[in-house]
């Protein structure tokens, strides 16, 4: 395999890691006020993601850094082009991180209430905007002969882009519901379970329309087939949830998100950022890539350290495998 193709695949892997992992903690954040009826319940919800959310978020930092290293032109065009959208995502991630980390630093409920709002808003915005961004990457954006993006935030807010945003938003909410069902007890678990099917079915419809549309714009039999497998995995997840196979249900939604990313990346290949102005101006895995030397160095580093990271992150989830309960002392108080 070409090194550039390998790195295209590796970047897909990093985004899969990001969306599968941060997806559920976005979902938990968005659902904070929907499922958590009071402070102790919301605290219990935050505690399900507390030990892991930061490690989850690093996946996007590494995806960004790896894109910079392996495809500098992609990094430059994407982040300067999607400027305001990215700014909004960054602000949201800042507020959310502060909300999660500072929430327990003061005991008063007003403080915690404000932090909860930061968490909810800070989870909602990126869950929506990452979808908008990816939909636009797949559909193609106005890129000129100098590889520069000619557009604005409004360019991205087209129907297909918004549908992409809605898709990631709903997928992450469902993913979050399944995570909460798996990681909590009592009323939170029951409420999350109750919402899974109605939210899940709407998600299924939106996601299938989006993936079909994406494959209609750009895609081949393979990317379409993967999209269909993703849809099947999602229905399997909903079925498992109904049968109270909570682990399988969560695995199913994780698989769905992963396969959806695979489908989009397959549809893109060999482009990384197609131009809507002229196909000759598209950024591809070859014209956006670094030198073979840099890619070789990066490959060696990745082959050694990505498995190491996976091992200790999996171990973390194992350590915190126990369900989180609503702190009873506080409820009685």
């Amino acid at each position: 395999m070409e090194l550039t193709t390998l790195w295209f695949a590796l970047i897909a892997v990093l985004w899969i890691g990001y969306f599968v992992l941060e997806g559920f903690d976005f979902g938990v954040g968005i659902l904070l006020h929907v499922i958590g009826r009071n402070e102790p319940e919301r605290r219990a919800m935050i505690r399900t993601i507390g030990p892991v959310w930061d490690g989850n978020e690093v996946w996007v930092l590494v995806a960004g850094g790896a894109t910079f290293a392996a495809f500098p032109e992609w990094y430059a065009t994407l982040f300067s082009g999607f400027y305001l959208a990215l700014f909004l995502i960054l602000v949201a991630l800042i507020l959310r991180g502060i909300g999660i980390e500072y929430r327990n630093k003061r005991g008063d409920l007003a403080w915690r209430g404000r932090m909860d709002i930061l968490i909810a808003v800070g989870s909602f915005l990126p869950a929506l905007l990452w979808g908008v961004a990816f939909a636009n990457i797949v559909a193609g954006v106005p890129i000129d002969a100098d590889k520069e993006f000619q557009g604005s935030l409004l360019t991205l807010l087209n129907p297909f882009g918004l549908l992409g945003g809605l898709t990631t938003l709903l997928l992450f909410v469902t993913h979050g519901l399944l995570f909460l069902t798996l990681k909590t007890e009592g009323e939170i678990r029951e409420r999350a379970r109750g919402l899974t099917l109605p939210v899940g079915l709407v998600t299924a419809v939106v996601a299938v329309v989006f993936l079909l549309w994406a494959n209609a714009i750009r895609g081949d039999l393979l990317s379409l087939a993967v999209a269909l497998v993703a849809a099947v995995a999602f229905l399997g997840a909903l079925l498992a949830a109904r049968l109270r196979k909570e682990g399988w249900a969560f695995f199913g939604s994780a698989l769905t998100i992963g396969l959806a990313v695979v489908s989009l990346f397959l549809a893109l290949f060999p482009d990384v950022m197609p131009s809507s102005l002229n196909p000759d101006w598209s950024l591809t895995t070859t014209n956006a890539a670094s030198t073979p030397y840099t890619l070789t160095i990066m490959t060696i580093v990745a082959v050694i350290f990505v498995p190491v990271v996976l091992i200790y992150q999996v171990w973390t989830y194992y350590i915190f495998r126990k369900r989180v309960t609503v702190p009873r002392a506080s409820v009685e108080a």
Partner: protein, 464 residues
Amino acid sequence: MLARWQFGITTVYHFLFVPLTIGLAFSVAGFQTAWYRTGKEGYLRLTRFFGELFLINFALGLVTGIVQEFQFGMNWSSYSRFVGDIFGAPLAVEGLLAFFLESTFLGLWIFGWGRLSRGLHLATIWIAAIGTMLSAYFILAANSWMQHPVGYVYNPVTGRAELTDFIALLTNSTTLITFPHTMAAAFMTTGAFLAGIAMYRMLKDRDRPDAAGPFRAAAKAGAVMLLVSGLLVALTGDMQGKIMTDQQPMKMAAAEALWETEQPASFSILTIGSLDGSKDVFSIRLPYLLSFLATGDFNGKVEGINDLQKIQEAKFGPGDYTPNTAVTYWTFRLMIGMGALAAAAAAWFLLRMRKGRTPAGRTVLVATLLPFLPLAANSFAWMFTEIGRQPWIVFGLMPTAAGVSPTNDTLVVLVTMVGFTVLYGVLAVVMLGLVIRRVRAGLPEATSDRGFEHEAEPALGLGY
């Protein structure tokens, strides 16, 4: 211009938290190790106390760090295209090796109290601390490449700089000296933080021996850390100065506002007057010293700005190759001055604490101000080294003006710059408020079986 301000503001702000994160990670690990080995409750309580402060600080370093990873592409896309083949690699490696380590193991540390065995739990904070250090190395390697590009060729076909030797990039002479300098500065910053806060608490808790005792130990440890690392900062800074004179003579000349070449050159302690070199109203100068600082020889020749400007014009074509001399001159002095002041305060603390003595109450004021001195010194240091490199973004290779994103709308950059500045300002107030709250609350109880998530339980009887 706006892009520069945005990068300057977000980066200097980010770096307010970075040195404390590095130093506190190791300090908290140190306290926890002391508890692990001696079983003394005081160390556990210090671990929890400074652990909380560490986490409050870490959160801001973390969230502002996300911006750093993306803003090269957002505001500096031409720079990213030109250097991505080289500059991207250390950034990606930093994420893969360091960020994952820090974030995952800190999560384990925060929530792992009572859930992991004591030894394993202790290991998590050490691993996180090592992660912060690795992160510093790779990002400084990236920055050092901008100061002193090595291990690359310019490829005229692709029109960009391309990496030829990754090992050379990682062992850049600039990196090898900047890393110890920055690490020493991080420990100096942390020493001031520990000494200042522990001294403050020790004086407040003077009637409570169970709290005053541990704080006395922490104040001493902080003051010693500050002095020792301060010495290392000075030593490494001196070596860095010589390398800088060699690699970027213009920066050294600007730091000294040395317009004409001198041999031997005198060091200006402070100058009141105009820095454009035309007249000094008042100036204190030490003969021979600059020669020694720059070259290691008291009679060494130090080239002046005017000569260097001519040399660069001959090399790179007409243009202004002189950085803002006033800013470079004063940030250099403020960096050294603030650092020296902090070291003096630490020495004074130790003097007043010798043989079990407790300093007078007015020491509280010094203790309160002390943590801010190295923070200011760090900020001035970055301003100095970055502004002193101007007009280059990559020294001798790419002018800063050529690095900005060509398509960004000025208004949009202004909006995001104001947005980040306001947001960061609010966060600074919130963070400082939390630190003050925590410091006022004093030493927590000795609990080792509960994570930090329980640290501040809601007050009872709030009705739910």
